[in-house]
């Protein structure tokens, strides 16, 4: 052992202080999920479920979008939290797989709509789709705040990717509440305003974080 290393060890030990352990993944996951589900539940309670949801729930596109949002929410959140803790590679892989399946389910919903000839623009409004997406983002802010606090305490090799995945998971969770209360059944609206919103927001979030990092690096240079 070199003298420098010996001194470093002595230095680290001499100034040691107690630390507050990061919660386990399941606890962090449950906390974020509870906040997201709570906010979504309040939204559903206030707005109420649309009439005819029972029959619409069996519509293929509606079901696949709902499945997609559920998979993206659970998978992306798990992948993000697992990345913050060293040695949780298995959990990270499971999360990545679930999130990928969620994106795949959204794509399959789009394919199904195309096959069934359901891309009708008659009742589609881009403003309504943006409204649903924006609502999902607003509803997801409390849970995102909680997830970011956990991630900042963790140690990740790719912190920006972790944050983007957390954004994807949380927005997908709140989008599922929007999906439940939204009266529109137009397939394009469901795909753009509900299923795509988490993905687009997460990509935008990641791009924004990368730009901020580049700006800071240039400033410090």
């Amino acid at each position: 052992m070199s003298r420098q290393t010996r001194l470093l060890i002595a230095d680290l030990a001499s100034n040691l202080c107690a630390v507050r352990r990061l919660p386990r993944i399941r606890a962090m996951f449950a906390t974020v999920l509870a906040i997201g589900a709570g906010v979504g539940g309040v939204c559903i309670a206030l707005i109420g479920l649309p009439r005819g949801l029972g029959s619409d729930a069996f519509s293929p596109v509606f079901r696949w979008v709902a499945l997609s949002l559920g998979l993206m929410a659970s998978g992306a959140l798990l992948a993000a939290l697992a990345r913050a803790i060293p040695g949780r590679a298995a959990a990270k892989r499971v999360g990545d797989a679930l999130a990928a399946l969620g994106v795949g389910a959204a794509l399959w919903a789009a394919v199904l709509s195309a096959i069934e000839g359901g891309f009708s623009t008659e009742s589609f409004s881009l403003i309504d789709a943006a409204h649903c997406g924006g609502t999902a983002v607003l509803l997801g802010i409390p849970a995102l705040f909680c997830a970011v606090r956990f991630l900042r305490r963790g140690v990740s090799l790719r912190p920006l990717l972790g944050l983007a995945l957390a954004c994807l998971g949380v927005i997908a969770l709140s989008a599922s509440a929007v999906h439940a209360v939204c009266p529109s059944r137009n397939p394009i609206h469901l795909l753009l305003g509900h299923a795509s919103a988490p993905i687009l927001v997460a990509l935008g979030f990641l791009a924004g974080l990368v730009l901020i990092r580049e700006f800071r690096q240039r400033r410090s240079n």
């Binding site: 420098q4 290393t5 680290l12 040691l16 040695g87």
Partner: protein, 190 residues
């Protein structure tokens, strides 16, 4: 196909208990743990990094990473898996940084500056032009850390307070600053 779960050895379970004690502030347990895992860390690092001097720098970076991320270890999880992940991440970080780092460096001979914290004392002495130039090349935070700890000779607590960061963060900055200074001085020596 399920992966076979590796059985944790008694030694690894002991390390887990030592880390748990370190999380509660037990300095003796922490120091013992770091000494005991050092050969394991060095084996991982040497298998991936060329050059003994560079490997030792990376080993020190791994120790700092362990120190910074000790709060992420949970006693119910295997310590060896956590240690391997922290080591791997620190090695990857070092390899990323090594794109700007010339591995074919020679041991420092021209200057009296040692890179360990105790000997790196420049208190009040006139800085050579080479050292001044090298200090100017450091990033702001690293230069501040080196100046506070080694030129103004403040204690870690005092320096951390002045810099507005935690003691651990300041020590990491100072350590990286010392490594960078050594690199710059070697470049100037060629």
């Amino acid at each position: 196909m399920l992966r076979k779960r590796r059985i944790e050895t008694e030694e690894e379970r002991l390390w887990g208990r030592l880390m748990q004690a370190a999380q509660e502030g037990d300095a003796a347990a922490y120091e013992r743990l770091l000494h005991e895992i050092l050969p394991v860390i060095r084996r991982h690092v040497v298998s991936q990094i060329r050059g003994v001097d560079v490997a030792e720098d990376v080993v020190q970076n791994v120790l700092l990473s362990i120190h910074r991320s000790r709060h992420t270890f949970h006693p119910a999880r295997p310590f060896a898996v956590w240690l391997r992940a922290v080591t791997r991440n620190a090695v990857i970080d070092s390899l990323r940084a090594s794109g700007r780092y010339d591995r074919r460096h020679e041991p420092l001979e021209r200057h009296d500056i040692a890179s360990d914290s105790e000997e790196f004392a420049l208190r009040g002495e006139a800085l050579s032009p080479e050292l001044s130039n090298a200090l100017d090349r450091l990033s702001g935070p690293q230069r501040q850390a080196v100046e506070l700890l080694h030129i103004r000779d403040l204690s870690v607590a005092e320096a951390a307070k002045e810099a507005g960061v935690s003691g651990s963060a300041l020590k990491v900055r100072a350590h990286r600053g010392r490594l960078a200074l050594r690199r710059f001085l070697q470049e100037q020596a060629r």
